[in-house]
């Protein structure tokens, strides 16, 4: 019995003392994580240990999905194939036009000595597979099967075939977590294709819609306008589809118009996305120089300063958008 003899009375600090200690520790950690983003190394470490386990647990579901994909019926494949071929044709046409435009541009740039602007399209990227949704009921995020070992860093942009998906907000060794651009307070600097009007598209937490706040009542924006990234933040290269405006409400009672847009992508429909790796600093600078050089009517509604996940909308109301993480 001696080996199992326990001390007869509990020793050490009382439960209340322990509660105080651990709660304070937890709150300190929360502040460190939320305010200063100081604990990403803890995340990285723990995720290294947990990642293989999670992969193993997700395996049966993935296998089932692959098997069901394997047995999809012929007709679906045929229609899908036809659609893809049509897309290829369209894209080839667009690609040739783009090449022409770029060639012209290089020519002009050579004259104007802003050669760097032609590097706008040089954004390296890697293809990643969506493994699963993050288990976070408060914010929808997706997990990709590529991480720091593949060169992904926090803050880089993620796109798919039809446009912007979101931004990487946390990375592990072999996986990374993407916050969707439809997520609450997740900003994307955009511009209206029709007239070059700049704005910021901000997610509202509901899938299928995106808000465009701070549009003055007189702004030239209407239903059906296509919003693409403006490239002024250096996170998203210019020209990627973000959303299409579906509703514009101009009520004189409010200083700003209420603009609602429909996102270009729905990540539920895809299994693969492209992660745009950080371009070299010169290229990013070039993007900014390039957009500033265009003769669009720049309304100067918003200027955005973005580090990884922090955006400040300076000119209007000094509204600070909360960190996109979590």
């Amino acid at each position: 019995m001696s080996g199992y003899q326990e001390p007869f009375f509990t020793r050490g600090p009382s439960p209340l003392a322990r509660l105080t200690f651990f709660s304070l520790a937890a709150i300190t950690i929360m502040i460190a994580d939320h305010r200063f983003q100081a604990l990403s190394w803890v995340r990285l470490g723990v995720s290294v240990a947990l990642n293989p386990i999670e992969q193993g647990l997700a395996m049966p579901g993935m296998t089932a999905r692959r098997i069901s994909n394997y047995f999809t019926d012929q007709t679906r494949l045929v229609t899908e194939n036809r659609e893809l071929q049509n897309q290829v044709l369209e894209l080839t046409a667009l690609g040739q036009q783009a090449r022409l435009i770029q060639a012209e541009r290089t020519h002009i740039d050579a004259l104007a000595v802003t050669v760097a602007a032609s590097k706008r399209l040089d954004w390296p990227g890697i293809i990643a597979e969506i493994i699963r949704d993050a288990r976070n009921p408060y914010a929808r995020k997706i997990i990709l099967n590529r991480g720091t070992t593949h060169g992904i860093t926090a803050g880089v942009a993620v796109i798919d075939g039809s446009g912007v998906v979101g931004q990487v907000t946390a990375v592990g060794l072999l996986s990374s977590e993407v916050t969707l651009s439809t997520e609450k307070d997740q900003p994307v600097p955009v511009m209206v294709v029709r007239n070059g009007l700049r704005a910021v598209a901000v997610g509202n937490g509901r899938e299928g819609t995106i808000d465009v706040p701070f549009m003055p009542l007189g702004a030239d924006i209407q239903s059906g306008d296509i919003l693409v990234t403006s490239g002024i933040d250096g996170t998203y290269p210019a020209g990627l589809s973000v959303a299409t405006v579906v509703q514009v409400e101009k009520n004189p009672a409010f200083p700003f118009a209420k603009v609602i847009a429909q996102p270009a992508t729905a990540p539920d429909h895809h299994r693969f996305v492209k992660v745009l790796l950080r371009a070299s600093p010169t290229a990013v600078g070039a993007v900014e120089a390039g957009t500033a050089a265009t003769d669009y009517p720049i309304t100067d509604v918003v200027s955005i300063e973005r580090k990884t996940g922090v955006a400040t909308i300076t000119n209007l109301g000094k509204r600070e958008t909360r960190r996109a993480n979590q």
Binding site: Y4, F22, A26, I27, D33, I53, N136, Y138
Partner: protein, 174 residues
């Protein structure tokens, strides 16, 4: 340790360490399953449930420190604000430590009611925390989690007391 006659665990043998560790590992694995959609909100927190079970029955081995540790692990795994699960786990374990003398006198189903309330309180803390951070309320489906957790309590109790887990220790001690 209290020696009130009603506390049925007071003079019983401590549970084998192996049982404590493996049950926590299994609960962690259940939590790490790729929950999504409706099940994401409604699934009970298996890890917290098992932690509460051991906090009630094995005061010496499982306490708030383990809750804190496993909480941080769940924070990373669920990619939420670091420290959030840690706080709710620690508070829930503290409540069970306060109530354990009373809880252990009751039948398993009455215990489940108490555990349900404790789980609900820890849920309320995490919801308030997230609302204060500017998140939206994710829906009333969340309330199913403590409910299902309470329903699982009798099962956890039954599993942990199965003779197959206890026999080996009995033989060792003789």
């Amino acid at each position: 340790m209290d020696l009130s006659p009603a506390s049925r665990d007071a003079l019983s043998l401590p549970a084998p360490k192996r049982l404590v560790v493996s049950s926590l590992a299994i609960a962690l694995l259940l939590n790490l399953l790729p929950w999504g959609g409706w099940a994401l909100r409604a699934h009970p927190d298996f890890l917290l449930l098992v932690l509460l079970y051991w906090a009630a029955h094995e005061v010496r081995s499982i306490g708030q420190g383990w809750g804190f540790f496993f909480g941080l692990m769940m924070d990373v795994a669920n990619s939420v604000l670091l420290g959030q699960h840690a706080l709710t786990y620690v508070v829930a374990i503290f409540l069970v430590q306060l109530l354990r003398v009373r809880i252990l006198q009751l039948t398993v189903f009455e215990q489940a009611l108490h555990i349900g309330v404790v789980l609900l309180l820890s849920l309320v803390i995490s919801v308030l925390l997230n609302l204060s951070l500017g998140r939206d309320f994710p829906g009333w489906g969340l309330l199913f989690a403590p409910f299902f957790g309470a329903l699982l309590w009798p099962l956890v109790t039954w599993l942990a007391k199965l003779p197959m887990f206890r026999r080996r220790l009995g033989q060792l001690v003789r």
